[in-house]
Symmetry: C2
Subunit: 342 residues, 2 copies
């Protein structure tokens, strides 16, 4: 990886393990400081346990460094649920945000080459108000990441006709349409699973359960095709010659569809930038996640998004909240405490 001179690292973890590793990479050592933390969050730790007993973990330490202004962004390959839970605890939610979301990039046929999908796993449920917030946050993210003045927002559904889908999705459609000019996006209506790569939408909004399943389904399908392609090209000598002759186009395909280049789920709706890398990411993948964190930290979009959310929250959500059953509001607060359990 070519060194970015504007980039410094704080490496959180066990000093005894990290020091020798860092010593073997003098190019990195000059711009990296180790922040010792004795414990680690394991992949099977429950978020609630980490919130209670995780103060000495590297994850906690990394998020605290963002909170204290030492770091401008945190990057982690760890347990997603725990990362979201500790991030909410340490960084706090932005004003106007009920539930933070995780946004990921998806290869698209559009100009930027990417669409954004959110939520992909911060919360297993989303009501109409949360879906509206995802639309606002997703549009802000896309606008800043791709210099797109008016991102096109679509709401994921099982069909594009008005009568289709769950009740909260129909209500969200109305809220998202109404908030379009305030949120500085264009609302393109319902989109389907087949539209993830579409050139006619930039930001696809859904709940974290559906988004997570869709993300992994897409990755799994791409992997199945890649594996099948490899099998077919090594099936016999003629195939191998074919593979040799088609090295260049296959390499370009691989590069265009490389999931490592899209590595990095961005946590939206917090006072601070957190990027979650895939747990199994290699050097290329982690590098992509770090680049994304750097770009976001530099763009200052966090502040602009905070302002916009606060102003939209006032105008739109007032109406939603005022029409809500008080019992529902109480259950919102209760379930809020479980955010990040996925």
């Amino acid at each position: 990886m070519a060194r970015n001179g504007a980039l410094d690292f704080i490496l959180h973890g066990d000093e005894k393990i990290l020091s020798p590793l860092l010593a073997s990479r003098p190019d990195l050592a000059t711009c990296t400081r180790i922040q010792h933390s004795p414990d680690v969050v394991r992949m099977d730790d429950k978020p609630s346990q980490v919130m209670r007993r995780g103060k000495n973990t590297s994850m906690w330490s990394a998020l605290s460094s963002v909170r204290d202004g030492e770091a401008q962004a945190a990057v982690s390959c760890g347990n997603t649920g725990a990362l979201m839970a500790v991030a909410m605890l340490r960084l706090r939610k932005l004003t106007g945000v009920t539930r933070p979301a995780i946004a990921c990039l998806w290869p698209s046929r559009g100009e930027s080459g990417y669409n954004t999908l959110l939520d992909v796993g911060a919360d297993v449920r989303a009501d109409e108000e949360s879906l509206l917030q995802y639309a606002l946050m997703g549009a802000a993210y896309y606008r800043n990441a791709f210099d797109a003045p008016l991102p096109r927002v679509g709401l994921l559904n099982v069909g594009t006709e008005d009568h289709k889908g769950r009740a909260e999705i129909k209500e969200a459609a109305q809220l998202i349409a109404e908030a379009a000019s305030l949120g500085r996006y264009e609302y393109v209506g319902f989109v389907e699973g087949s539209d993830f790569a579409s050139a006619h939408v930039d930001v696809i909004v859904t709940d974290g359960f559906t988004g997570n399943i869709a993300l992994k389904t897409g990755e799994g399908t791409a992997k199945l095709i890649a594996d099948t392609l490899r099998e077919e090209f090594t099936a016999n000598l003629t195939s191998k010659i074919g593979a040799l002759a088609s090295t260049a186009p296959l390499q370009r395909l691989k590069k265009r569809m490389d999931p490592r280049r899209m590595n990095g789920g961005v946590f939206l709706g917090l006072n601070g930038t957190v990027v979650k890398s895939h747990g199994s990411a290699d050097a290329t993948g982690v590098s992509a996640a770090i680049k994304l964190a750097f770009r976001l930290a530099q763009s200052g979009f966090q502040d602009r998004m905070a302002e916009r959310l606060a102003s939209v929250a006032e105008t739109v959500q007032e109406r939603v909240l005022s029409t809500k059953d008080p019992r529902e509001a109480a259950s919102d607060i209760k379930s809020d405490a479980q955010v990040g359990e996925t």
Copy 2:
């Protein structure tokens, strides 16, 4: 398509349109009878409208021919929601089934080459009891379609750890595990979106919203890769030579991953066999759907599934229903009336 001598067709629709078409295909004309129906269901018709005013449509006529025993199975390329609604009205649900489901095939790394996913769109919600019924119906379908004595059933979730997912999914996991020996399947626990092609599961159970999004996401991803592959292989002369040299492996890839070979969503949980073909299916796709309908009609699995569902319903659902809040039961009945609206 090679003629299957055991196959006869009843073609439902406008005689004036169908007669000349059939006359031009003497091979088909000998085994096909036209059943005149003046109206058609349009793709944007609401299921509820079709249920009230659809008596003269070809869809209604086709399902009536199954109900009256004239046909052993119905195949339709039409409006899915309307087809399910009219199928429920004309064929009625099996004893023990609250909500029918639509099952589709997915290319897999397993022995049979296919996994089954359900529900892919009959209903946008599913409670724990419906998910149990999907497990029972999916296992029965897979067992008969692939001669698998003990299908492995997995429940779709955002992670494989016990604490993950929505409440109804955790409850469904318990019900499905308990009913395994009665339902003659093996329960393998939670599976993720990345497991759709896995060799370690045969039947993947989820609600119709998530299943529909996943199905279309998989199809969309495969199409994006196919399009990108085509672009790269026609980018320049060298690429074109590479494409020529690799014709055989690319053709084999295409055949193995051809979505048309997997065409045909099977409606499970009704007194009769109904196969829904993709609306945009070509001759190969429709042929696959007809073959599937023929195989299912011949296997007699419908009767065996009906028996099994009734017996499991007695033992397992008694317990579920007895612990249910009466208000919930009332809302079940209410929402039941909207089944098929997707």
